[in-house]
Symmetry: C2
């Protein structure tokens, strides 16, 4: 392909609204252009990369035995009412009525539609297991679209769904998908970590996120420094490295101290000259409407979802100021566990047994000191109800943890029967008994594969494509305008294409400097330079992207071999 | 692929809402399922066919030098206001506002977005010509979705757009696309006729529709019985085969006759004992607001778009009863051209010179007889302002025309500067002068390729796929349940796949009758039957779909060769 016959509008300027490298580079390399906030046009270079990523995903899904379907974006809202997700998803729905006054939404995901579809044709355990997937456009009215195509309102997802007669079958398919996901990302040159994850609005019991480490990621993952344990910070179990009392064991009596107008952990610790660890926070929440007090250390953060799971309730929300006043007799900021009645008290495991700590006094402008949890507090239940911190250790091997930012590129779930029960997808088992089908679901953000590859593989000058995603294998930078140069460029393009490589020939009427900068920017693995000097010596230059040392001057006849060597070496290109 | 591991829910029953064969067969063959009116899920068999059609389209577009892009479905309504199409397209828009109160529509087409996009990076004639295309999902809130995927609300379109510095360049690309379209449809086994077409809401001067003849088609095309002339009935020029006066030439004076309560052509001709051809209808219309009278013969139909073109106005609409009463002094149904003043009178060419005809008298319950157009009517302009009929002849060679129903599978347009002018897409020419870019656009309905192939190739039993679209090349119908049959089916699948064929192995636990019926229904070109009798003779049966005479019993070792022969012959399979 000649550059002059396609549309690759590279930019020198950094787009003002682009904060992360992949966004900047995709715009500058002429891969994408914004139409409106969170909605992007893909230009020819962008489409080529997207298609390569799509092809890898499709191959691995087919290899894993999944069957491709194609479901509509237009979905009836009534289906979401049936599944009970109309409210929880309303936040991201694009919703409207058609000319027949039917309430429609644009599909942000397809559990409902596929569950409904599979009712056609699946009625016996003998039809199972069944694994279906699609590669299709999703729509989400994101509160904060950002980072280019990483969080956008219209994006391409591979979403797969599996259907089973028993849990063992689900677990087998889950493992198969887990492995297929690793192959997808490895082939696309994206490093990922499979993390234990929260199931969120999707529901179900077990899920793993595939996280691509990158400073541009929105998520924080927690990894063991020794073993393979990894989890999303939102899902990581807390195992404290210290279990000892935080203050001297002298069991002095509880005492009130005046803390006028001082209620935050920072303010109280400063006033009372203790560390935040010597405080115990009392958070009043409503668990499915019933008030609950949750105790965590001053340096910890309560995790409402963990609290909900521990309590076995559907939702936990912060209590209103009125409820807090009524329960504690004090304004917000002075709640404490000592003498607190009419409310269940849950203590995080790290609070259990603490001695000599500071708590609220259930009285305005007052705190208690010398509180001993075991002696002074009626704890109803102890559990893990906080976010993990750097002082916690690996739940598997008790070694230190490290924290890292990452981009979620895939997410797999063991859904169970949540959707099949509500939407009536059942099969008869061997004995004729009718039972709900057990389901799993499996998502990959295809655009995010592309963005993550760039986040992990770029330098100051531009993108460094892994060969599997590169829009072309070879760039012919024809910097000499001599007729021999044009002829040679044409000949090399033909030869390389005949050898199975894809070639972009930069035939533009512009300076060598512009061509070299653009070549670095768009990041094609191998560049062939046809310049005046080389021509006079009967040579062209073959240069791997991201490897200045790998530059070779060779006669035109050796170009194909040199390209092969460079591409083989290029599989090892550095990660930024 | 084993049938038991995929989802092909065939049906014996004909779906109640399916009126045309392709709709019935796609549902019965388990290719599609309706989600809501005009919105379909594609199941595995449907996706495979859709992907094969898509691949052919993509190959031919790439071969024609077009570059693939991917544009969003979410579009700002403001762009449509800029192009001036917000009102004319409002009818089919799905329209809504996002959380940022931005007015959005789902793209029914992409002229606006691509014109806006190409402004990035194209500023000089040297960047042109440029041809871009995408294969992407379109959304139209159809008034009457019908015929399954032929007229649906969510569908896949290949839409291409070309950009030029001069008209000659547009014409070259138009011809290239014209040829590429013929190759696409030929490769997909769909017979098409390229027809002169109306440009409609798209605008521009010249367009061709690619029409697949089928009794299920919504469109009527007109073809010459001798030469290659073909046109959509809506666009066909009228050349009458008769030009003589329709009544005896005796020039009797005009006379009023009472026609109480009788105003339609049928009623008047019956009452006055003349044929509809001896009547001249006078239609009062408003052309950009100004009243105009159009005269056509009683057996003809006025063509408002032709009238608008002849008058050089943007829109022609039927006048209201009030306007008609005011202009003619008579109620609707009695307008006539004799003595009509204050209005431009346009006569269709077939009316010119008529003698002794009946017209309205501009008086209630009254008509005129013995009207001679030349003598009695002040005609301001004569032209082609009616729909073609079976009495017209080919405008090219004056031979008889024939009419046929057809499905529009493609449409190409020479748009000119309509979009570039309104959206500000300009380039500098050789002299530095800034000029609007000249555009073309090129659409193919991918789902309609599939439906049209079925419409043209099916029998009572089911689909007869052309090989290029077939979901699999070979169906192995394993009707014997013996272990040898299972082993042989597995072996044949492996061998045929190794030879490059795609194979569906019907391994279901059901009767031979069900398997044979389903095989005919899903229409895979070659069926291999492994039955008890054949096995005992060391033979399997190889049978081309739609060719009972082509059945062969062969030893397993000769299957691959026989499959090759059958597929080669199958290219000639009959068209229904």
């Amino acid at each position: 392909m000649k550059w002059s016959q396609t549309l690759i509008p590279t930019l020198k300027e950094v787009p003002v609204d682009a904060e992360v490298p992949s966004h900047r580079l995709m715009v500058r390399a002429g891969m994408i252009r914004k139409l409106i906030s969170g909605v992007y046009c893909y230009l020819p270079l962008g489409v080529r990369v997207l298609q390569r990523a799509t092809a890898v995903v499709r191959e691995e899904m087919n290899r894993a035995g999944a069957q491709e379907v194609l479901l509509p974006a237009l979905q009836p809202l009534s289906l979401w009412r049936e599944s009970g997700r109309d409210k929880v998803m309303a936040e991201v729905f694009y919703q409207f009525t058609d000319r027949r006054q039917k309430e429609l939404v644009l599909g942000p995901t397809h559990e409902e539609v596929i569950t409904d579809l599979v009712k056609t044709g699946v009625s016996s355990y003998r039809h199972l297991p069944l694994v279906l997937y699609q590669i299709q456009t999703k729509f989400r009215d994101e509160p904060r679209p950002r980072s280019g195509v990483i969080r956008s309102c219209e994006f391409i997802m591979k979403d797969g769904y599996s259907f089973h007669a028993n849990v063992e079958s689900l677990q087998r398919t889950y493992r198969t998908m887990h492995d297929a996901y690793h192959r997808v990302f490895e082939r696309c040159g994206v490093q990922v970590v499979a993390c234990e994850a929260d199931t969120g609005a999707m529901g179900g019991r077990l899920s793993h996120e595939f996280m691509a480490p990158s400073p541009s990621g929105e998520d924080t993952i927690v990894r063991c420094s020794v073993c393979r344990y990894a989890a999303n910070r939102d899902a990581a179990a807390c195992v404290s490295s210290v279990k000892a009392p935080v203050a001297p064991a002298a069991a002095e009596p509880v005492r009130e101290v005046a803390t006028p107008g001082v209620s935050t952990v920072e303010q109280v610790s400063r006033l009372l000259k203790v560390t935040p660890k010597q405080l115990v926070k009392t958070l009043i929440v409503e668990a499915d409407g019933a008030p609950v007090a949750a105790l965590v250390r001053g340096d910890h953060e309560v995790h409402l979802a963990k609290l909900a799971r521990l309590l076995g309730v559907a939702s936990v929300q912060l209590a209103s100021a009125e409820v807090i006043q009524r329960l504690t007799g004090a304004p917000v900021g002075f709640a404490g566990p000592v003498g607190l009645s009419g409310v269940k008290i849950i203590a995080d495991a790290s609070v259990e047994g603490l001695i000599g700590v500071v708590t609220g006094a259930n009285r305005a402008d007052t705190h208690l000191v010398n509180v001993s949890i075991a002696r002074d507090v009626r704890v109803d239940q102890v559990g893990d109800v906080r976010y993990v911190t750097g002082e916690d250790v690996c739940p598997s091997c008790r070694q230190p943890l490290r924290f890292e930012q990452a981009i979620e590129v895939g997410h797999i779930f063991q859904l169970g029967t949540r959707y099949s029960e509500r939407l009536g997808l059942t099969v008869a088992d061997e004995t004729g008994r009718v039972m709900p089908v057990i389901m799993g679901c499996y998502g990959i953000g295809v655009n995010r594969i592309v963005a993550s590859a760039i986040e992990q593989r770029h330098d100051e000058q531009g993108i460094i494509w892994p060969r599997a995603l590169s829009p072309y294998d070879v760039l012919v930078a024809q910097v000499s305008a001599k007729p021999e140069a044009v002829a040679l460029a044409g000949r090399l393009q033909q030869e390389l294409e005949a050898a199975g490589y894809t070639v972009l020939w930069d035939d533009r009427d512009c300076s060598a400097g512009v061509k070299f900068n653009d070549a670095d920017l768009i990041g094609i693995p191998v560049r062939i330079v046809i310049g005046d000097k080389g021509l006079s010596r009967g040579e062209v230059e073959v240069q791997p992207r991201g490897d200045r040392e790998g530059r070779r001057a060779v006669p035109p006849d050796q170009v194909a071999l040199e390209v092969k060597n460079a591409l083989d070496r290029g599989a090892m290109a550095p990660v930024a």
